[in-house]
């Protein structure tokens, strides 16, 4: 935004408002595209065509769906808590958009600065704090609907969010040690110089933990217990229809995009290309903008597709197993990771050492797993 700011020379609050507008308007088509892509991709995974009726090759399917949802009757159950019922989708949707305030979508090259609305010094902290807000929306929706399935979904949503918030934040701490800053821009800059400097290599464990937690944060398979449709019909949003359901739906995809964006920033080098960038591109302002934004979006898109791919493959965990997984596995793992990172940071050779640490771990485990292989249960003939 720095470049634009110097060009337009507007007061900062106004620039912020313009940025908010841009994000809100920009995210709507992105979410629509993600919905469509998910359906196409899941279709491909299962040898189906996916949506193919509306528009050329089904490309307008989400628009048709959105129109349908908007024109549907907006239904409020009898005895619902009307105020909370009305507020819940709003509270659910706002944080997903708010996260993008600190997401740098690209860079203008040279000294022009990155493309983002606010370069907060506490960028990562802001993201996590804001992102955990939508749990309130889930609980409100679950409570206000006056439906037992919704209530169970709401309770599960809160329990899940509380459990997964912790390893999620802890998985960032190692990165903060390495980058020495909480600002999203600084974190990306710390990863400059090529693929080998990206933090997912230095912090592989944290990266995997983050991926698991982020899937849990956005309530997707295998962690979609708040809305598990084979158990709770549709969980916390069972009673929502029309526009308000559309808001939940939209927020979920925006959140998915947001978590992928965070992962890109923190672990995959944000807008940076995986190799040292040629000076021709870094020199041109507009050229570098498209180049960097392209890399950023490509990475985000890959992560989002990964989440969709997992959805097409894995079953869902049970609520208590989910908590077990978070508290008894993820939290200790990130703590150990944090400890090791701290030690390595002291030694200063984290990149090499990180790789060795991972290789050693994998090798030890591979030997173990081969030994344990024979224990699989079989039927008796």
């Amino acid at each position: 935004m720095n470049l634009l700011q110097s060009l337009l020379n507007l007061p900062e609050p106004l620039m912020g408002a313009i940025g908010a507008l841009l994000i809100t308007l920009g995210m709507l088509p992105v979410a629509a595209m993600l919905v469509l892509w998910e359906r196409i991709f899941l279709g491909k995974l299962t040898q189906r065509p996916g949506p193919n009726r509306v528009g050329p090759r089904g490309l307008l399917q989400t628009i048709a769906d959105a129109l349908k949802l908007l024109t549907k009757e907006d239904f409020t159950p009898k005895d619902a808590d009307r105020i909370l019922f009305f507020l819940a989708p709003l509270i659910f949707i706002v944080p997903s958009f708010l996260v993008f305030a600190v997401v740098p979508f690209g860079h203008f090259g040279g000294t022009h600065g990155p493309v983002l609305i606010a370069d907060l010094r506490t960028g990562i902290f802001f993201m996590v704090a804001v992102f955990s807000l939508h749990t309130v929306g889930i609980l409100m929706a679950g409570w206000a609907s006056n439906n037992k399935y919704s209530l169970l979904g709401g309770i599960r949503g809160v329990a899940q969010a509380i459990s997964y918030e912790l390893p999620l934040i802890f998985s960032f701490l190692g990165i903060l040690i390495l980058s020495g800053s909480m600002s999203t821009v600084d974190i990306i800059k710390a990863q400059g110089g090529g693929l080998h400097n990206w933090f997912f290599l230095a912090q592989p464990v944290a990266f995997l933990v983050y991926l698991a937690c982020s899937v849990a944060e956005v309530n997707r398979v295998p962690f979609d217990i708040p809305e598990a449709e084979s158990e709770l019909v549709s969980g916390f949003n069972t009673e929502y229809s029309g526009m308000r359901f559309a808001m939940f739906f939209l927020a979920e995809y925006v959140s998915l995009f947001a978590t992928a964006a965070i992962a890109t920033i923190v672990f995959l080098g944000g807008w940076l290309a995986p190799f040292p960038e040629p000076a021709v591109i870094t020199g041109s302002t507009l050229g570098y903008f498209f180049w960097s934004a392209g890399w950023f979006l490509l990475k985000v898109f890959t992560l989002v597709t990964l989440a969709m791919w997992v959805r097409g493959t894995l079953p869902r965990l049970r609520a208590d197993q989910l908590m077990d997984f978070a508290w008894k596995f993820l939290v200790p793992v990130v703590l150990v990771n944090l400890f090791v990172t701290g030690l390595l940071a002291l030694w200063g050779r984290w990149a090499v050492a990180g790789g060795l640490w991972l290789a050693l771990l994998l090798w030890a485990l591979y030997g173990q797993s081969r030994a344990a292989k024979a224990e699989r249960r079989q039927v008796v003939y």
Binding site: Q47, V310, L362
Partner: protein, 186 residues
């Protein structure tokens, strides 16, 4: 170490599963885009019963009521009258497609056979045809009378599908759908 072993094994199994699902991305689609593309029907397909006409366009039914008697949901109703030449005439032949379960017992018991092959179903007066699209807005539209049944038999009879093995028959379907609709409405 047990936890980590399990974690590793789990990750490996998940990766295998993901690989398997991803393998399918490259495979060809199995879905058939139904209204435009139709699956090939086997010759034995059991669809809506019809009355394939003879060369003069009349039904070959002799009014013995065997089909009406054997029909499990009892959806065949035949009215006959004796004409002046003392021959049995079929006044109306009703198949209520709301009730029909397409079991094919009617064509099995039909005594009318073709001269060449006594076991050949395509010689029967009532035959299950290859018509399977019979949506309608009300139950009455699905009560088929003699002229409609003859039309169905003519368009979709098995004899016909024998001549055209495995041909998608999109053109005839839409034509007949309109045809049958007109007859049903009228």
């Amino acid at each position: 170490m047990d936890v980590l072993t399990r974690a590793f094994q789990g990750a490996k199994a998940i990766a295998e599963g993901l690989a398997t699902t991803f393998k399918h991305v490259t495979r060809s689609q199995v879905t058939i885009g139904y209204p435009e593309v139709r699956s090939e029907l086997p010759a034995a397909f059991r669809g809506m019963p019809g009355l394939p006409p003879d060369k003069s366009g009349n039904t070959t039914c002799i009014g013995c009521l065997a089909c009406a008697r054997v029909c499990p949901p009892q959806c065949i109703f035949i009215t006959t009258s004796k004409g002046e030449d003392r021959k049995l005439r079929i006044d109306d032949f009703i198949v209520d497609a709301n009730l029909c379960i397409m079991c094919g017992l009617c064509e099995e018991v039909c005594p009318v056979t073709s001269k060449e092959d006594k076991t050949d179903y395509p010689g029967r007066a009532i035959q299950l045809t290859h018509l399977y699209e019979m949506s309608a807005y009300c139950h009455e539209d699905l009560v088929f009378h003699l002229p409609q049944l003859i039309a169905i038999g003519q368009e979709f009879g098995r004899q016909k599908s024998k001549d055209l093995p495995g041909q998608p028959r999109t053109a005839c379907y839409s034509r007949l759908a309109v045809h049958v609709k007109e007859l049903t409405r009228g």
